[in-house]
Each structure stands twice: as structure tokens, then as C-alpha cells.
Symmetry: C2
Subunit: 402 residues, 2 copies
């Protein structure tokens, strides 16, 4: 019994009809093509942190750090101040500090669509004397049946999502941020992900995952729909100022049991998902964007979409209201000691509240997703991303100086 939320976040298509176009009002939403400045530059400053609503980049380095024992609020504030300066410079394609001290790994890469997104885990609030400011939504995720979580690769006080079009730019930025953290925070875990590079093949449509399925057909399009953005970002008037414009992110390392999956006949794989491999159309017909007909039955009365098909359990009907922006990456780290591939998905899902986003979907899938036997959740973390920083401000300042 394992429970997953790989394909198709629930409840999203239902929301897609209502919103007004708003793409022009936030540079972070528009992505590299339309952003001002040099090609590939994603503005660091703004009401939301870059790397949440930004179109997905080809390379990701995710990391969590723990505050050094004895570190206090002043130390954490100094770290975030220094990180903010460095991240802003890196997003312009500049060295993070003194050019002479930089190894030059990213020279020639340009801004490379680099984004750095910062998050705080529950422990961050406790260790900085801010336990009373810790939002209730940051409560630990429950254990889901079937989870096989590695504590060493789960959780963490601080989260860094570094993403770029160029792997050297991403490595360069992550290492620079890790160097800056020395003495204040130590890396707890680090993961590397990829997706299809922009400009190659079908990169601009829905991405595939390593199971071969188009993955994210039902993902919200925050550039086109403000109602959906309000379910990804924290926008409510009750939220504290440091959080308004922020978001919660669930990070799960979901290993795919590819040796099993790849041995299945195509009809079995398509039944488990409920969509065709080739074009992602639901098995009830049409094209990728055609709504699935959950009531359709074959002449013998058997439902076309199986009772345990992934898209039935994750369908809008089943999970109305549960919205996440899934913005993950695939990973493929070669064979494990047992010979099986250490490969799968770095599931990264942004939401206004995990209680109305990840949790209901994952509980639903836990009741019997057909994909469950082919994946294993190996690591899990929940962070809150504070709102973006205005020029001259540092990330988290309103919280730490609040």
C-alpha cells in the first residue's frame, strides 16, 4: 500500500474556466521569453519569489540546510541578508560577491534563467525563537501508508531551490550559497533534477516523466488565471505580512520502480494512468486537453477509466478545491547497490495551504492509486516560502525583524 500524487493534481481543471488574464502584471510569471533585461534573466525582486510561478527550467539543484547548533535569530538574519544579495547578483549572471574570489564556473552562461527560491521548515521557527510565528499550516505532514522515508533526506530548516537553463549556472549558484552559509547552516540533503531543455523537441508542451507519461496536463496555469494563483500563493488578508505573496511547498522524492513498470504491456500502463502514452489523451477519447469522462463504460459495462486509475482518483470531481502547482523535475542517479535504477521524480508542489492542497489529494490516492505499486516515496519535506523581497529588502526580513 503506497500512496502517490504523481500525475494530475486534483481539482485544477475545474478552476481553469473562471479567472481573468493577468500575465502582464508580474514579471516572474512571464518567464524568460517575455522578461525584461538580457535574455534568460528572471527578475529576483517582486511580490513573489522567483521560481514559483516561473516557467520550469531544465536543471534543478534542491537542497535543505540545518541551522548550526547555537545559531540564533541574528545569525539566521545575517545569512538571509547575505543570501539575498548573492541570489540577486547570480540571477543577473554576475558572481555572487567579489569577482576575484569566484572560480568562474558560470562565466559565459549569462543569467541562464537562474532562480533561487528560499523556504523555511518548521525547525527554522523553533531555532530562531520564532515558534509563536510558525504558521499552523507548517505542521509536519502525516505519515502516509507505504511511505519509505529516509529521514536524512527529508525535512530541514532551510530550503533552497536553485534552477537554471544551464547546469553550470545552477551548480555555481548552489555552491556559492552553501559557501555563504558556512558557520551558520550546514547542508542536510541535496538532490539534482532535470526536465527537457527549452528549445528541444516538445519542451514547451506538457513534460514527460521517466514513466513515459505526459505529466502535468491538469496543472494550473497561473499566468492565465488569477483564481488559480490565489490557490497557489498565500493571498488572504489574515496572513502575516511576511507570508502574504508566499507559498507552501511540498517536496517528495518519488522513486519509480522502472524495472517493473517498463515490463508492463502498454495497455496495462495506460489503464493504470487513464491516459494514452502517445499523446496524453484520456482513454475516453479526444486529445490531451479533452476532459475525461469518468462515467464512460465499454459495451460490457466495464468503466473505460478503471476504478483505481490515477486520473480518476485525482480528478476534479474527486478532489474539488485541491490545488497545487506541480513544478518538479525528474532524477536519474544511476543504479542503486541492488542494481535497480535510482530514478524518479523530485515532486515539488506549491500551494496556498497543504491542508487544502497536497494532503487531500495524497489521502485520496492513498485509497488505491493503480500507480502506487510502481513508485516509492523516499523523502519528504514541507517548507513555507516567504513573500518576495523588494529592492533593498532581504528574504524573510519582515519575519525575522517582525
Amino acid at each position: 500500500m503506497r500512496r502517490r500524487a504523481l500525475l494530475g493534481a486534483g481539482g485544477l481543471a475545474a478552476l481553469a474556466a473562471g479567472g481573468a488574464a493577468l500575465a502582464a502584471d508580474d514579471p516572474a510569471v512571464r518567464g524568460p521569453a517575455a522578461a525584461p533585461g538580457p535574455p534568460g534573466r528572471i527578475p529576483f525582486h517582486g511580490p513573489h519569489q522567483a521560481g514559483i510561478l516561473t516557467p520550469r527550467q531544465a536543471c534543478a539543484r534542491l537542497a535543505a540546510l540545518d541551522l548550526t547548533p547555537g545559531a540564533d535569530r541574528a545569525r539566521a538574519a545575517a545569512l538571509l541578508r547575505a543570501w539575498t544579495v548573492a541570489a540577486e547578483r547570480l540571477s543577473r549572471g554576475e558572481p555572487p560577491g567579489e569577482a576575484d574570489a569566484d572560480t568562474g564556473v558560470a562565466l559565459g552562461a549569462g543569467p541562464a534563467s537562474l532562480t533561487v527560491t528560499f523556504g523555511f521548515g518548521a525547525g527554522f521557527f523553533d531555532r530562531t525563537g520564532l515558534a509563536s510565528a510558525r504558521p499552523p499550516a507548517l505542521a509536519p505532514l502525516p505519515a502516509f501508508p507505504g511511505d519509505r522515508l529516509d529521514p536524512a533526506r527529508s525535512g530541514g530548516d532551510l530550503f533552497l531551490q536553485v534552477a537554471a537553463a544551464d547546469p553550470f549556472a545552477a551548480v555555481h549558484a548552489l555552491r556559492a550559497l552553501q559557501r555563504i552559509a558556512r558557520g551558520a547552516a550546514a547542508t542536510r540533503w541535496e538532490m539534482t533534477g532535470f526536465t527537457r531543455p527549452s528549445g528541444t523537441g516538445a519542451a514547451d508542451g506538457t513534460h514527460r516523466n521517466l514513466m513515459g507519461q505526459l505529466d502535468g496536463t491538469a496543472n494550473p496555469d497561473p499566468a492565465a488565471d488569477r483564481a488559480q494563483r490565489d490557490r497557489i500563493l498565500v493571498t488572504g488578508p489574515d496572513a502575516p505580512g511576511w507570508l502574504r505573496g508566499g507559498s507552501y511547498v511540498v517536496v517528495r522524492r518519488i522513486r519509480m520502480l522502472l524495472d517493473h513498470w517498463e515490463g508492463l504491456p502498454v495497455h496495462h500502463r495506460e489503464q493504470a494512468v487513464g491516459r494514452r502514452v502517445t499523446d496524453g489523451a484520456p482513454l475516453t477519447g479526444g486529445t490531451e486537453r479533452t476532459p475525461v469522462d469518468l462515467d464512460a463504460a465499454r459495451p460490457d459495462g466495464v468503466p473505460v477509466i478503471a476504478a483505481n486509475a490515477h486520473i480518476r482518483l485525482a480528478a476534479p470531481k474527486t478532489n474539488s478545491g485541491a490545488t497545487m502547482l506541480r513544478r518538479g523535475w525528474s532524477y536519474y542517479d544511476g543504479p542503486r547497490p541492488d542494481g535497480a535504477p535510482d530514478a524518479g521524480m523530485l515532486f515539488v508542489a506549491w500551494q496556498t495551504d497543504p491542508g487544502t492542497g497536497f494532503l487531500p489529494v495524497q489521502h485520496r490516492l492513498a485509497r488505491g492509486d493503480a500507480l502506487a505499486r510502481y513508485v516509492e516515496h523516499e523523502a519528504s519535506a514541507l517548507f513555507v516560502a516567504p513573500r518576495g523581497a523588494a529592492p533593498g529588502e532581504w528574504i524573510g526580513q519582515a519575519l525575522l525583524e517582525g
Copy 2:
């Protein structure tokens, strides 16, 4: 005492002047832009295997396999026959076999500049009853002082270099080839590398490595110079037919001790290499392509290029005749258990004969390369790549049926 051949293969610049242009006579040399057929398609068939003279792709998956105990020449031949069919199809962007049995991971990627390059280790000859056909140049590499080789990630009977512009295409191809090998050969080791994607930043010039140095300034340009090609490929009339048009490849996993390196002042880093970080110009002046002046001295008589600078030890003067085509990738696999980065270079160097290529350069560097203290050779292998296959022929056929 560690010995390396990271930057600047010796003796290459000296050869660059002599050759005639020959770019038009071999599609594998021309690369994606000029190749016939759909964009990004590298022809599989030809006198040389694709992936040797081909411009470097962004993503690489390297693997070695060992023949299953009991496998004989017939089994090896069947494997190579099946691999050839699959690799040719994959290089056209097609599934490797029955489309229905394919998971579709690479659907939409197109040919993606995919190449699959096959090599044989010494053990391949022994286990297939071909010991008498094993070329003397395939003798085991000597142990170099300072090597810290992991036997589990070194050597192997069969080598696969899978490279592509798209990581899904590369994963898809490697997994397909591994599936085909089941029962005949088992994966011994696997490594993942990257370089700057084409179309981003300065991808079309010399690549940087994770130490931040432009790496490969002195690399031969086989498209421009036949004399250099004759030192990369086996072209001599004495070579057996299966080998003529082939090459030897040295694969080394060279870890970079980045925590140490990145802490050095820039002048120290530049002295160790002998070149400027920013533009790769030799410290004796000019631009990246300006020949280094090894005799230049400062007013106080100290040589501008230090006695142990990498480019002095690897300079044409010092290693005349030693030619390799270095076509490696960087790797960055996150932190090791000790917290240090598991990062460096997958050194992949092609040559007519390791006895006149890798060995003299590495012996020279072993006498005191200034970079030696910042790198560790962790794995090593030597393979021979048979010549390319003509349409209807399979890789290695002339050897196994000879």
C-alpha cells in the same frame, strides 16, 4: 603525489598546422547543424562510430557492462547485433524495438543528437575466445602514483557512451540497451555527465570545467585537420579490419576537491593552470588561442609560467606527438557522506594508441602537476572502439565473425 591530465592534452597545438580540410567527407564529424535528415540527427552508420568525432552533446550516460558468466562468442555476437539495431533506431528518434513495448520516455524528443558509442575492454576478448585478437595497445593501464581507483567503477568488458542533447533521450537509450543486454551482460558501473547545452551562453566555444577553467583550448579539431584525425582514429595499414577506423578511449573519473580549490585566491588558481580564468589566455599574454611562451620571465627572473603549471607540463614542447581528443563531461552528484562535493570530470579521451596518447601525458603530469593536489582519480578504464558499422552490418561483426 597525484597525477592528472585535466587541461590541455599535450602536443596538440604543434600538430594543428599541417592538416588539410576534410570536414565534408564524414557526416559524423559535421555534427547536428550540418548533418542530413531531421534536425539533431547524427547518422549511426559510417566508417567511424558516432560519438567520437561528433561535437559534444549536453548530456552523457556512460556505462560499462560485464558479460554474464558463461556467455560465449555467440551470445556476445547476438547482443551486439541487437544493440546495433536498437542504437540505429534510437539515433533516428525511434523506439528501439516494438513501439508498443516502449514506455515513451523519449517521445517528442526527436533524434536529439543521440549517439551510442560501443567499446570493448580486455576482458571482452578473453571471455569470447578472442584473446589472440586482443590488440597489444589494450594492455591494462599502469597504476599512476596518487590514483585512488575504485575497482567497482573501473574497467568492464563492454563500454557504452550514450550522449544526447536531451536527458530523456539519453536515459531512454541507455535503459533500452541495458534491457536488451539482460541475460548476456550486466551493468558494472554507470556515470552521468553534463556540459553546457548548445544554444545557451558560450556553449559553442571551449567548455569550462567545474574548476572554472576553460578546458580543451588545445584539443585537436579533427574536422579541420586530417593529420590530427590520424592520431585519434586507428588508420594504419597494419591494423586489423575490425579496428581500422576505430579508436581507443581512456575513461577516468576525476574528482575535483572543490572545497580546497574554491578557497584559493585567483592568482594562485591561475598560476596552477598557467592561464587566466576569465578568457583562458596564457599568463604570458594574448587571447585563448595565443601560444604560451614558456621561456617568458618576470623582471626578477621568475618564470611567468611556473615550473609545475599544468600547461607547462602538458605543452606541445614537453609532449610532442602525444595526441588525444578529450571529449569529457562534468559531473556533480551532490555531497558525499563526508560532506565534500562528489563532483569533477568524466575524462573521456580518444586516441590512436594510448601508448602515444594518454600514457606519456599522464606520466609527465605525474612528475608534479600543480593541479594534482586538487583532484583525485577515482575510476579508470580503457576500451577499444571498433570501426563504425556499414548499413546491414553490426558493430564488432568483423571481429566476432573474423
